[in-house]
């Protein structure tokens, strides 16, 4: 197991390095310059370029960038908030986004699990078809459509919850965006749980447990769901990706000061360092989640662990 984890970590680090290289090359190809200002003379632009080290050769810039990144220095923002460290910008915004993402995952998984279990227990009933219908809608309709609907209905028409983010509102401010984002999670988890649970409930070992006299909540949650949940973990990776994409739009709709909103601003104002840093953060987050899912999966399911140990020596 140790060997497998080490190998998996090595792969992740290698992927991350390749990503940095790719990001850097892409950045070099970007059109426009952050100093494209008509009021600046060419000499002034030159001074600015050398101040930020943009006139060095490409390899020099790349190695400096990798070195800085290892020390947590993402450079300075060019346009969004001039001369502020990008790491400082991230520091302020990352927790907000992580909180939003965490809330959505938590809300979505719990609701999805309950819905999926209920649908599986009452297989082929009205409840089941309603749950299926609900999850098809949740999977198909993008989260920002939900965000728009929720913000109009509860935020504007009924004024129950804040329409725009305000730090003073505490968790109340996260209610609408978190619900909007969690719809996809809930629908996917519900769908997957239902399929897995139906399979598990029909298995021989469930019959054995049932004939031993175990029943009710213990039967469902301790025996059935535990086995079903192992494979549910695998969909976490794709879900995190959809949350990242969704959060960009949802953060814009509710004007939440998270990294998604920062990304949109950076894209629109050509702030290279911020885009590069955010792309790195998103990729690192994603790779970390994939790594965690793989390791967790191995730990939870002995069959996978043994198979992988066998394959990797």
């Amino acid at each position: 197991m140790k060997k497998y984890i080490l190998k998996r970590i090595g792969m992740s680090v290698a992927t991350l390095l390749v990503i940095v290289l790719v990001l850097f090359i892409l950045m070099q190809l970007l059109p426009g310059s952050p100093f494209n200002d008509e009021r600046l003379s060419i000499e002034q632009q030159q001074v600015l370029m050398s101040k930020y080290g943009l006139d060095d050769s490409v390899p020099v810039q790349f190695f400096r960038y990798v070195k800085n990144m290892l020390t947590g220095d993402f450079g300075k923002s060019y346009t969004i908030s001039k001369n502020t460290d990008v790491s400082l910008l991230l520091q302020n915004r990352l927790p907000t986004s992580l909180l939003l993402g965490g809330l959505s995952i938590l809300l979505g998984s719990v609701a999805g699990l309950l819905l999926g279990v209920a649908a599986a227990l009452k297989h082929n009933s009205l409840l089941d078809s309603m749950a299926t219908f609900f999850s098809v809608i949740g999977v198909s309709i993008p989260s920002y459509v939900f965000a728009l609907g929720l913000s109009y209905l509860f935020g504007f028409q009924l004024s129950w919850l804040p329409m725009l983010y305000n730090a003073d509102d505490g968790l109340r401010a996260f209610a609408l965006p978190a619900v909007a984002l969690s719809m996809t999670v809930m629908a996917t988890v519900a769908r997957f749980t239902r399929t897995e649970m139906i399979e598990v409930l029909n298995s021989d070992y469930m019959q054995l447990v049932e004939s031993k006299g175990v029943s009710g909540i213990q039967l469902i949650f301790k025996h059935a769901l535990r086995n079903a949940s192992i494979s549910i973990i695998t969909i976490l990776g794709p879900l995190v990706v959809s949350l990242m994409t969704g959060s960009l739009v949802v953060e814009k709709i509710f004007s939440i000061p998270g990294i998604g909103q920062l990304m949109v601003q950076a894209i629109q104002s050509n702030d290279y360092n911020v885009i590069l840093a955010l792309a790195f953060v998103y990729s690192a987050l994603y790779i970390f989640v994939m790594l965690a899912v793989d390791i967790l999966y191995g730990v939870l399911d002995p069959r996978i662990r043994l198979a992988k140990e066998g394959a990797n020596g």
Binding site: M11, S12, T15, L16, V18, I19, V22, L23, L26, M27, L29, L30, P31, V136, I137, V139, S140, I141, P142, Y144, V145, L148, S151, Y152, F156, M163, T188, R191, F192, R194, T195, I235, V241, M244, T245, L248, V249, K252, I253, M263, V264, I267, Q268, N270, I275, A279, Y282, S283, Y286, I287, M290
Partner: protein, 349 residues
């Protein structure tokens, strides 16, 4: 020492009794064989969801083709004086809905306004979905935008089939070093979130239809390549492949003529599922502000434009959101139905 043989046989025979003639008539029923496509169609037709999806997609595609033609307005035509007009539809207006009046919320209370009554010659003007803040007809723009989404759907399928399928098949078929290199590159590409790849690419290439197409081409095929590689690995050891090779068939011919027909249905399902995500990618890019440039419209850019008037003129954002949601839902439902019809063994999700 033993009983004579014929006695044993007699005892054995006594164990059984003859049933006798029961006069059962065996009817040999012969069903007429349907063609593959007819069978497929019948099975899809059983699934209500996929029938709904198919009808909706047809309807939306029909409107996308015809809508801009019958509306009588150009998609980029700004009519002075026609800014921010609520929807007005003939016949329905007599029922008290869609009669061009809208309720404005002000600080002092609510106010019902009908702009069609205030502008000159407004009696004769009909904007079925209303107009946006620049006075452009939203009915025309919505269906023009739908064209973009349908085009994206087509691109997604083509990319899936040509890049994803071939990549996976080649990787799986040759195996060994080729497979190793191809799979490691996919892993790295897959390690970067699509969000990052797509946004960076569009910034480098400048926003436009071509860049969006390219972005989808680069990111859209990975899932498909996995499925086709897995199917290829399963099938390449089968006997008919061995037979074909013995007969001297070339690799390409084995891949495309012998193996492909056997995995095609699975791949078709995969490509159907990639359509909604491609449509979403376009809408997402537009919303972030790097989609189709103005005055061209896509569903995403319409949502993004009209989002600014969400609280003042709510009707503006409804048509593009509704069409986008229906389109994605329909493609998902149709893909679900196709999967059930073509490959019942394939697992859900």
């Amino acid at each position: 020492m033993d009983k004579p043989l014929n006695q044993i046989i007699q005892n054995k025979v006594a164990d059984f009794t003859f049933v006798g003639q029961k006069n059962i008539k065996v009817v040999d029923e012969v069903y007429e064989e349907d063609s593959y496509w007819k069978q497929l169609f019948k099975r899809i037709a059983k699934n209500k969801g996929s029938v709904f999806g198919f009808i909706m997609i047809t309807l939306i595609a029909f409107m996308a083709l015809l809508g801009p033609v019958i509306s009588g307005y150009d998609f980029d035509e700004q009519i002075a004086g026609h800014e921010s007009m609520a929807p007005r539809i003939p016949v329905l207006e007599n029922l008290g809905v869609f009669d061009g009046s809208e309720t404005l919320k002000t600080s002092t209370g609510e106010l019902v306004v009908n702009k069609y009554e205030t502008i000159e010659g407004g009696e004769e003007v009909y904007h079925w979905f209303g107009t946006d803040v620049l006075g452009r007809d939203l009915f025309t723009r919505t269906w023009i935008g739908t064209r973009i989404s349908l085009y994206i759907a087509l691109v997604a399928v083509i990319v899936d089939v040509f890049i994803g399928m071939s990549y996976g098949m080649i990787s799986g078929y040759y195996g060994g070093k080729v497979d190793n290199i191809m799979q490691r590159s996919v892993e790295v590409l897959n390690g970067i979130p699509n969000l990052v790849v797509v946004t960076l690419l569009i910034i480098v290439l400048k926003p436009g239809l071509m860049s969006i197409t390219l972005a989808i081409a680069i990111t859209g095929w990975i899932g498909m390549s996995r499925v086709s590689r897995a199917s290829m690995l399963k099938l390449k050891e089968s006997e008919y492949v061995l037979a074909a090779r013995t007969m001297g068939a070339k690799d390409i011919s084995i891949m495309y003529k012998d193996i492909l027909p056997n995995i095609f249905s699975q791949l078709l399902i995969m490509s159907m599922f990639s359509i909604p995500s491609a449509i979403f990618t376009e809408a997402f890019l537009a919303f972030v502000g790097i989609g189709i440039p103005v005055p061209m419209a896509s569903l995403g850019s319409l949502i993004s434009e009209n989002f600014k008037s969400l609280t003042t003129h709510f009707y503006m954002i409804v048509p593009p959101v509704l069409v986008l949601a229906l389109l994605m839902l329909s493609f998902n439902l149709l893909a679900d139905g196709l999967r059930d019809a073509l490959d019942p063994t394939m697992k859900e999700v």
